[in-house]
Structures are given as C-alpha cells and as structure tokens.
C-alpha cells in the first residue's frame, strides 16, 4: 500500500540515521537542561550532552528501567508543564504501582502519525470501517487506535470491549472491514458468531485484523486468517511508548519501527551489551520526539530480533520480529538465553506431540541440563518403541536447532502437564546456585 508519508518512510537508511542522530542529540540536550531526573542520571554516569557525537554514542547513556517509572510515580518523569498536558493514560500495573503517562498535543499528534503510517502500510484507509474493540479509557489501546484510524480517513466504530453479540450485529449492519482487538478476543468473536449462525468469512465484509496487546503466534495468525477470511497484522506498543504505535506492513515480515519516532536497540538482557541485528535480545527504546513523558534507553522487557534488511514494501525503517517473550521469563542454560515461548513455538510445529510442556532445568556436576517434558498426541501414539523413540529424537533435534542448547525430551502420559499459563509451573529449575 502507498506510504502515508512517503518522504520519511522511504528515506535512505543513512539519511534516516542522520535524522535519528539529530533528534537524539536535541532530545538529550533538552532533557539535561530541563529534567532533574535525566541530569542526575547522566552526571552519575559521567556523560554530558556534548559526549554524544554520533548515533552510536547513545550507548554511553544509562538505561532506564520500569523501577524508575515506579519510583517517580505519578509524574516525576514528566518534562512538560502541567498546562501543556492534554491527556493522561494509566497502565494497569499488575505488579506494584501503575504507570501514568502524560501527553502534550504534539505527543498525541505524533502517536496518531505513527499509527497513520502503520495502518496505511497494512492497507487500511479511507473507505474502511474500523471496529475498535480495544478498551477505551485509561488503557491506551482504544483511544490510540481510534485517533490513528481517524487520521487515515477510516470510519471508526468505537465498540470497545464486551457485548460480543452486539459487536457482531454491528459488524454486519455497518459493514466493518477491519477490526482492532486482541487475537484471543477475535477468536472468541469468531466462535460467538458461529453460534449465532454468522460466518465472519462469508457473511461480513471483514478483511483486516489489527491484533495485539498480548503475545500470539504465527500458528494463530494462520488459523485466524483462514477461518475468518482476513489478513491479520501484528501491532506493537506499550503505554510507556504512548500506546500501540507500530504494525506490520502488508509483507507481514516484522513490525516497522518508525526511526524518527523511536530508536530501537537490542541488547543482551544479562550484560546490557548491544547485539548485532539478527540476534535475539531485549528491546531498548529511546523515544526521539516525546515531550511530556520521554524515555531514553528504556529496558522495555520484551524480547525480539532487530531486522535492518530492506523490506519488500520499500519502507526503509527497521523492523522488529514478533515479540518472543519477556525478559522475566528468560532462562539461562549453559550460558544460552532460552525462552519458554521458543519451546512452545517448536512444539506447535510438531503434530506428534501436544502443545503443553514443562521445562526442567538441573545441574549435573558443572553442566546445566535441560529437559522438556511433552505429551504424545493421540494420533502419534504407536505401540512400537522404535517409533516413539523417533518422535523423541525428532523433538530433541528441533529444540536443539532452535535453542542452540542440547535438550533432552521426555515423553509423558497425556494430561499430566500443567494446563494453565505462567512460568511457575511451566519451568522447574532445580539448580542450586
């Protein structure tokens, strides 16, 4: 689809980096001059704005953590005057205090611009009816997507969450062509629709899903696309960044991060060392244009891979791959970072075993051992030990290839593995360190 802002979206990469440098430089100078927090942090790390002589010098600046946001609740990190704020959003804060994000008029403007580019890149625009089934209110999802969609000229149907049957009726009556919601809610919607005798694929005009705000997989994308007759796009953002901000383009090969809005680094979650593009690590974000609630080298906690290869869509801005887990879930086995979500992805591709699993980490002598317990699927259960051993070996091989660490696989009886989500039951770490 045609870019929303071709001049910036197709900027040659070296010019984009120069632009990022100029924006970063003026951001750092502004924060040093106006923010008590940033000035103190930089002094503690013995960095001055003049030390930033290239884009790479951003690496001299200290990281920011979620704890910094918590410690400065509610507005200690704000860099705008109270009367410049036009909106607050508040994140739910499942642990500790919530995070309050303030926005100036320009912040809302940039947020909408970011989403306007994103929506255009997945083919959403004038003539579309976008049903926004993200929550409206303190959560950033509803209002954020709403403003971005209005910006591209789409007609917004602000259904917010809940009352699924009514949502499906409206989807039919008002000819919704696109929906923004969580992937699990869309799945639920499809099921409710079927119970009502409505096939979303055949009986509605829905053609695009903008899905996010929770982890999901390629397998789920395939299922939703085929079942509902749509193209499903991943959307990324967190309240700290402003809200949902970035999506995949029509190529569906990663999420474009607009370089003039955010500078993304990927670092080793343990050491904080920068990792080259293509390597999995923790995303670190600097928001280059935010006024009210800036972020510099913020350790967002999401695990991804940075992709700087040119995209077939023609946009030059770097992409991140689908979020592959949270730093909090990371295990270190023989010095290698391993995420339970990687194990899950591998298992989903092997029909001979179920999707449930348990990881057991132990230490034999000086060496860590990793065991993955899986259930044999009904179709694959064979009376022959040799065939079961082939399955076991195949799973071991696939896991080793993906994780880069030797994995033992144990076949267990069905129904014996934990069904519910959460690290506590999925991972058993027996190492006494």
């Amino acid at each position: 689809m045609a870019p929303w802002n071709r001049q910036i979206e197709e900027l040659p990469p070296d010019e984009l980096r120069q632009l990022q440098y100029r924006l970063a430089k003026s951001l750092i100078r502004r924060l040093y001059e106006t923010s008590e927090f940033y000035r103190r942090r930089m002094k503690e790390h013995d960095v001055r704005p003049d030390d930033i002589g290239s884009l790479a010098d951003i690496g001299k600046l200290p990281f920011m953590y979620k704890g910094d946001l918590r410690d400065n609740y509610p507005d200690g990190l704000f860099c705008a005057q109270k009367d410049e704020l036009v909106r607050y959003h508040v994140s739910s804060g499942t642990t500790g205090k919530p995070t309050v994000v303030g926005y100036t008029r320009q912040d809302i403007e940039n947020w909408s611009e970011s989403l306007a580019r994103a929506f255009s890149s997945c083919g959403l625009g004038r003539g579309d009816v976008l049903q926004v089934s993200y929550g409206y209110g303190l959560f950033t999802g509803g209002l954020g997507v709403h403003y971005g969609a209005e910006r591209v000229g789409a007609t917004v149907l602000p259904t917010s969450v809940g009352n699924t049957e009514r949502q499906i009726e409206l989807m039919q009556d008002l000819h919704t062509t696109a929906i923004a919601c969580t992937p699990s809610y869309l799945l639920h919607m499809g099921e409710v629709a079927e119970k009502m005798g409505v096939s979303i694929k055949n009986d509605t005009d829905l053609r695009i899903g903008i899905l996010g705000a929770e982890p999901w997989s390629e397998q789920m994308r395939g299922r939703l696309e085929e079942w509902l007759g749509i193209r499903a796009y991943d959307i990324y953002g967190t309240s700290e960044l402003s809200g949902p901000m970035f999506t995949e383009c029509s190529e569906q090969q990663g999420i474009h991060i607009w370089g003039d809005i955010a500078l993304v680094e990927v670092v080793d979650p343990e050491t904080g060392e920068a990792l080259p593009p293509g390597e999995r690590g923790e995303m670190v974000v600097t928001m280059l244009q935010k006024e009210a609630f800036p972020l510099v080298r913020y350790r967002i906690g999401d695990i991804t891979v940075l992709d700087e290869e040119p995209c077939a869509c023609g946009r030059t801005h770097p992409r991140i791959r689908r979020i592959q887990g949270r730093v909090d879930d990371m295990l270190i086995v023989r010095g290698i970072n391993v995420f339970p979500s990687q194990v899950e992805h591998v298992l989903l591709e092997i029909p001979e075993v179920g999707r449930h699993f348990q990881i057991v980490i132990d230490r034999k002598g000086a060496l860590d051992t990793m065991l993955v317990r899986v259930e044999v699927s009904e179709e694959a259960f064979s009376d022959k030990i040799t065939e079961l051993m082939v399955i076991k070996k195949a799973v071991e091989h696939r896991l080793k290839t993906t994780l880069n660490v030797a994995v033992g696989v144990e076949l267990v009886e069905p129904g014996t593995l934990p069904r519910f989500e959460g690290k506590s039951k999925k991972v058993v770490d027996r190492r006494s360190l």
């Binding site: 044999v376 009376d383 079961l388 069905p414």
Partner: protein
C-alpha cells in the same frame, strides 16, 4: 479366514515410574476385565504396556476415559509345545517364510504354552502357521 485369528492387543503408553502399572491394572480390575497375558517394553523414561484382555474394546474405552494413550495392535497367539524345541518350530516356520517378528512375549498355561507375536505380515503368518499344522488362538476369545 486368516482374520479370525488376528487378535486385538491393547497397547498403553506409560511413564516409567512407580505405580503406573498398578494404575493400568487397577483400572482393568475395576472394569472387570481379565488379562490373559501382558508385557512391558521399556525405553528411556517411558514404556509401552501390551496386554491381551478378554474385552479389548471395553479396556480401550476405560483406559482412554482415564486419560491413558491407548491403541490397538494386531497380533497372533500361537500355541507351542511346552517342551524343548517348541519355540524353535514356530520361529523357523516364520523365518523360512520371510516373515519378520517385531516383538513377542509368551506365557505357559495349563493347556499349552502360547507365543504372542507381532509380525510384519500378519495374514501370511497365520497361513504359514496353519499350513505347517500349527494351532492359533481364535480372536473370538478376546472380544
């Protein structure tokens, strides 16, 4: 003809830890199902319990309902002379006919010794045994 000698054996996936056989056997006891013969094949960390029972369909349903992975496998039961050379006779017939034995287990009862066989060509095996004057258990004993 050959089919009337093909017996449905039940195979149950089991983890290799204490109490698993007791769980299988207890479930069959509670369902009033009799076990004629069984064996356990074990691998690294898991095993397969194989059993000939009087009501294979009921056993399958009972165990599946309890969450076990269960499958049926076609086997034959060959009566052997319970004296030196008994096994040799049966094995030679199959070997000479180019039929491969994938696994086997045996029991020695009041009437005769019985060899339970899982072979690659089950109908050929039945024919060969019968042609050589051997005796097979009828599948009708197990249903």
């Amino acid at each position: 003809m050959e089919k009337s000698y093909i017996i449905k054996q039940i195979s149950i996936f089991s983890e290799n830890r204490p109490g698993r056989l007791a769980a299988v056997a207890g479930a069959l006891r509670d369902a009033g199902i009799n076990i004629f013969a069984f064996s356990i094949a074990e691998a690294n960390g898991f095993g397969v319990v194989r059993a000939l029972v009087n009501r294979p369909e009921d056993a399958h349903r009972t165990l599946t309902g309890l969450g076990f992975r269960v499958s049926f496998t076609d086997v034959i039961g060959v009566k052997m002379r319970d004296e030196p050379g008994g096994l040799s006779e049966v094995a030679s017939v199959l070997g000479d006919a180019g039929i491969n034995i994938e696994y086997a287990y045996a029991y020695s009862g009041k009437d005769a010794a019985v060899l339970i066989l899982r072979v690659d060509k089950v109908e050929d095996a039945v024919r060969q045994i019968l042609d050589h004057g051997g005796e097979l258990l009828k599948a009708s004993l197990f249903r």
